[in-house]
Symmetry: C2
Subunit: 337 residues, 2 copies
Amino acid sequence: MTMNTRIAPQPFNFTQVHRMGPAALRRLVTVGPGMCGPTKAFASCVGDWTWESVSDACGIDVFNARDDRGRPTYLSFYYYRITSGDSFHLKQLTFGDRLEVQTQVFDAGRRAVLTMHRLRRITGSEDDHVITPFEVSEAYTRHREDCIYVENLNMWVSRGGTHTNVGLVRSPPIGFDNTVLPTLPDEYSPRFLCSQARTQHVFPDPVTDSWSARGSHFVVEYPVNITLDVNGAGLLYFASFFSIAEHAQLEQWRALGRSDQAFLDRVIRDTRICYLGNADIDTTLRLRLHSVYNPQDPAEEKTNIVIDDLSTDRTIAVAASRHRSHEATPTAASPPP
Amino acid sequence: MTMNTRIAPQPFNFTQVHRMGPAALRRLVTVGPGMCGPTKAFASCVGDWTWESVSDACGIDVFNARDDRGRPTYLSFYYYRITSGDSFHLKQLTFGDRLEVQTQVFDAGRRAVLTMHRLRRITGSEDDHVITPFEVSEAYTRHREDCIYVENLNMWVSRGGTHTNVGLVRSPPIGFDNTVLPTLPDEYSPRFLCSQARTQHVFPDPVTDSWSARGSHFVVEYPVNITLDVNGAGLLYFASFFSIAEHAQLEQWRALGRSDQAFLDRVIRDTRICYLGNADIDTTLRLRLHSVYNPQDPAEEKTNIVIDDLSTDRTIAVAASRHRSHEATPTAASPPP
């Protein structure tokens, strides 16, 4: 078969991946329909990059990992945070955007891994620039307004029982050696946040402690949707928790008299989930929401969410989302109580 | 920064893409959580491959296409079919599966493109085999039992009005030249099927014409879920139609007294959708289902689905799904009327 002369020698515009260091990758990516629109789609795509990046940094196949008893062990998402800047945020992503995604993987102990992604929109001419990996402190203390950061803390787990998603056990795979990974400075570790979320069922956040309540507590029940929420290993899919949480937020949003379009148009600055457990797929979840707003800037809101598995009466996730909306002022459609 | 000696020189196990001819690509892919589990996840991932493959074959950037009036034009999915063999079907896909995906792109006229993907599970040692592209007739007349085939007929469309998804217009982009693509033999074109679906609201299928009705017609209303069903261009996402159709099928399934687990365990042999229009995101869809079963093998069923946009009283999609389930026999939990 002869080559058509209109065709470039390399396949068109696909994702390119380069290694920048032993635990650092750089992807050049064209955004397709599969990774933009719903927050779930974005979280899913970046989650796969996490597995690829850890595979690369640790020299093991995360997708086929097994523990020393031969059981499949999954690099499950324990903490997932997406933060956006003013000039580039989640809901702006659309078809054809060209992104530079820098990823760094860090030691988080014998049974865990921390991965940090930084996404930045680029133009075609930037693709070949010589670059150095970003300083990880940037993600925690000097956010760039033109970047989206995604932080993942993952834990190795396998099924404790054969036929249930309840009671997963920590179980690192054969061949995993966390000591090959660079160290994350202690002050950036999300472990304290997660430990607080586990015990207090809310992320500590001194900034919003003084914010005012927006309405009363709001409760939504959600039967697991088996056509959407179950991953290829039969577990509740971590990325579905973003859509499940947004479903409940939308119910609350509507109850405050706001429009669906304003919900889609809100700027999500910071959304995070701490996953405390999985659940069987025939369960119903209960989401308890509590929203607060910034008295100095009432368009700025935060919603804390606790997700319980009603079948086992356990809290299986704690979430928080901070956003801005122009329909959110208390003098407009949604007065505080 | 020095390289860790444990690390292979190339990044680990990522998708590799090679061109096999001017309109043929071969991907070696590791299945991640993002592409298995829900049918929607699979359809979404393969749909992105379609856009990449057409970009490559036609030498244009499908993700950033514009028509001669400067409007964004989308290579929208008009017909999407997934067929599976006995020894490799959709619901078997799981983390870590290694796939060879061969893709061929064909001329379908000035305003359309036909893409055929063949997915086959491989072992690591097969990755470097010298291969020749599969004969496209195989997908239509000599299905391999160890392959999944995905057929996409896409049409170029742009928004007729500024603020609505109703009344999209056919609009090929600047730089698109269908004549560079190989021709698909007429007998394989899905245009006749789609034309029948458009006028009759059902796919013609002589094989199942003699099958017996399983229950009466079943109707489900589905308000569009804006946290899940809207893509990055503000349109109803083609892949969501698979989950919307499955949601309705699951309602029908439960009404027949069957278990959710059996729904997840069914073998989907052939599922297809013809997309006749898009809809605004604040609408409710109505799905009308009619199921039949094979009297010679009652575990084999087919469900025809018509999807209407209630806001505009239009049929916007016609779907059909053929599957096997061991709970589907009329003598078991689900007697015919």
